[in-house]
């Protein structure tokens, strides 16, 4: 008799756990879809985008719509999967689109000019002295762009859109 009542209690507890888990799962699903297809916050750090982004780390919002509809252009700060290490994502500025002619300094006295091939972009960090970018690994295929950064959320005194 007591066993039956225990089983009844257990069943209702299990059902409640399942319901709560389903709610959490649905929420995570929604979060995931928003993060991948709409907008996501990202922590970016490193010296390569000074003075636009800080060394110690900024939280920025990146939107994932523009690169899918081809609206990424020169001057945009983008998140790009590194062609050298596929597990890292870099934050750089697009300096040239396909077909553009790009001049860059390999060392202070010697400059080179290249044309960006079809389907590729040329990315550079704003801090050219401390950035590993297209000047080192060449143009990057457009397909590696993950999102476009449009807004800074942290630190609070940097809150707002990024300067061009």
């Amino acid at each position: 008799m007591r066993l039956l009542s225990y089983m009844g209690q257990w069943k209702s507890a299990a059902k409640e756990v399942l319901d709560r888990t389903a709610i959490v799962a649905k929420f995570l699903c929604l979060l995931h879809v928003t993060n991948n297809y709409l907008c996501s916050p990202t922590l970016v750090y490193g010296p390569s985008m000074l003075p636009t982004l800080n060394l110690t780390g900024d939280v920025v919002l990146a939107e994932h719509v523009s690169h899918r509809i081809g609206k990424v252009g020169t001057g945009d700060v983008v998140l790009v999967r590194s062609p050298v290490d596929p597990r890292r994502i870099l934050t750089k500025r697009v300096v040239g689109m396909e077909g553009d002619t790009v001049s860059f300094y390999v060392d202070p006295m010697y400059s080179q000019t290249t044309v960006v091939p079809k389907g590729h972009v040329w990315i550079q960090g704003d801090n050219t002295y401390a950035s590993s970018d297209s000047r080192h690994f060449g143009s990057v295929p457009y397909g590696l762009i993950q999102g476009k950064v449009f807004f800074r959320v942290w630190p609070p005194d940097g809150f707002g859109t990024l300067e061009q």
Binding site: H32, V33, S82, P83, D85, P117, G119, G143, L144
Partner: protein
């Protein structure tokens, strides 16, 4: 009288809307699951064209490609992979992976014109892909090694035509170094 009819109509309308939104939610949940499976587990695609003639037919075969191997770095030479075109980010192609980073790959530069071979070391973070049909395939011999980040999936099973159904672990290509 009018009030009663109005109330009845409201009730019916509400229940219709409730049922419709319930069904719509179920459909949306189903698509969500389908989408997550497609993006993170397994996807299917149609391959056509002459460049993988030893493995796929000219007119088109359907196959399944899984995405876990790519994310965990478990692809190697001999695998058939699905990857984005470096030149057109919206197009996807199917090729045979011949070399990972720091592998030394020997390839025939232009088989229609000569037998000249060239050797290249695949740079860090890149892979070398070639089609089975080297006479008619646009691959790493033309556009160079491809960044690993452009790989989308590893082909493991052909599902159409039905008489060719089955697993496709390594391509039908002979040893490329011979």
């Amino acid at each position: 009288m009018v009030g009663l009819v109005g109330r009845l109509w409201n009730l019916q309308y509400k229940s219709i809307v409730k049922e419709a939104s319930g069904k719509a939610l179920a459909v949306a949940k189903f698509f969500c699951v389908l989408h997550v499976t497609n993006t993170y587990l397994c996807t299917f695609a149609l391959a056509y064209g002459p460049n993988m003639v030893l493995t796929f037919n000219l007119t088109g075969d359907m196959f399944l490609a899984e995405r876990l191997s790519i994310k965990f770095g478990k692809v190697g030479p001999g695998d058939i992979v699905l990857l984005r075109y470096p030149e057109s980010p919206r197009k996807v192609m199917v090729k045979c992976l011949l070399g990972l980073e720091s592998h030394s790959v020997t390839y025939v530069v232009d088989p229609m014109k000569s037998d000249r071979r060239d050797t290249v070391v695949v740079p860090k973070g890149h892979v070398w892909v070639e089609g089975d049909n080297i006479y008619n395939s646009r691959d790493s011999r033309q556009f160079g090694p491809v960044p690993y980040g452009l790989l989308e999936g590893k082909v493991f099973c052909k599902i159409w035509p039905p008489k060719e159904f089955g697993s496709l672990m390594k391509s039908g290509m002979k040893d490329p170094d011979l």
